[in-house]
Subunit: 249 residues, 2 copies
């Protein structure tokens, strides 16, 4: 990996997460800690980051008041993203939707990962695009401005032509009896197609949304292979799902 690439990657990470740890960077990028330290030093000299013991912070961190509730349940979603990343292997084809949990996943992808991500979500495409090595395939159709993803028959058709290894689904509501449910007709059509076109379906959801309902069903519990929440895998809140034979992470 070229020096400039590393710098770009580090800056991207800092701007996304407001901080980076030298220790995690050097395992991500696969270079020695000294190199990372020198990189941080240079970026710090340029004023792009603020160097601190053990890593670096975003320069805007000190200026603006940092509201932790800026993004709804950001920390939980980060934890979910971390677990989700562990399912991804080099060479995989991965279908993803949109939603803030998926975005967090996109930001947490290790930099040397070589996989192909397929999505109709514009914010997700933006995140994937920043990644140095992954391939991005966009599902085209009309944009739904509210959800910022492409929706419609063309999009559904395209997804049906795909057979992906993995499908990451950000979930609005999940319930043991009604499965995954949602509130946008067009988005539901897409999610249905995504589930059918994937060998393995992984649900990402914060615990808060477990056992909640929305008007339109996306799929039944039986179609889900894995559920990822911010809770530990053996949390009692997930017992019912475990009993249905769903893998819990």
């Amino acid at each position: 990996m070229l020096k400039r690439e590393r710098h770009a990657y580090i800056l991207h990470q800092v701007n996304l997460h407001n901080k980076v740890l030298s220790s995690s960077l050097c395992v991500d990028i696969q270079v020695s800690e000294d190199t990372i330290r020198r990189d941080l030093q240079e970026l710090s000299d340029q004023g792009k980051v603020i160097k601190v013991h053990g890593g670096a912070l975003s320069p805007s961190f000190n200026e603006v008041y940092y509201s932790p509730s800026q993004v709804y349940s950001r920390t939980e979603k980060k934890a979910i993203a971390q677990k989700a990343v562990s399912l991804i292997e080099d060479g995989m084809f991965i279908l993803t939707g949109g939603g803030s949990t998926i975005l967090e996943l996109a930001r947490s992808l290790p930099p040397q990962l070589k996989a192909t991500f397929i999505t109709g979500s514009i914010p997700a495409v933006l995140e994937y695009m920043h990644h140095p090595t992954i391939e991005v395939i966009v599902i085209g159709d009309k944009i739904s401005k509210s959800s910022k993803i492409t929706v419609g028959g063309e999009a559904v058709d395209k997804i049906r032509q795909i057979k992906a290894d993995l499908c990451f689904l950000g979930v609005n509501a999940i319930d043991i009896g009604h499965g995954i449910t949602d509130n946008d007709w067009d988005v539901v059509q897409l999610k249905k197609a995504m589930i059918e076109s994937s060998r393995k379906v992984v649900c990402l959801t914060i615990a808060e949304k477990i056992n909640t309902l929305q008007p339109i069903q996306v799929c039944s519990i039986g179609q889900i292979d894995t559920i990822i929440t911010e809770l530990p895998a053996d949390d009692p809140a997930l017992q019912a799902y475990r009993e249905e034979g769903i893998e819990i992470l």
Copy 2:
């Protein structure tokens, strides 16, 4: 392999992967590292790539991390966008590419305009998405990270199925003899399809790019209906194009 060929190949690689290593290029093309270095130097002088120790990066690669305000020739592009907007009428279907001039156009759209914009450019989609009343249709396919547009056979096919009223084309190089030319094979395929699928083809270009050349032809002068530059319509620099029967704005 000829010098021009090498340059085209290098540019293609850079646009594809966002970076090239001198070491890998010289085994690919079977020339000495010195030749590659000189090639990269020249391309860097022309601003086509950014030379770094060990190789080169795509110029758009760094843009992402810098402020969007320092865009090259911003004021000129705004002037062009103003003129372009005057061609748009309610209810039109409009094909557009990517590029900073098109983005400026997207930002200049009047807020009550009701039209449908079709594009494969992710930055353009983002701009259109912010608009309250226009419809956005995304052309799907694999993302070219450097140009940030979808490229490939699927995208070309989709465009062919469309018959748009207008096509706005950001232009890299235009010449009276060679028409519009560009340097990325995949992008050229898209632009060709866009031109064929539109009733009226409008070129947006800053005056600086008039009478310049790139390796690959997009279309001949005869296929262009309108040219928009920041210059007044009767500027002598555009005389030759006017004589070809092209409308100048």
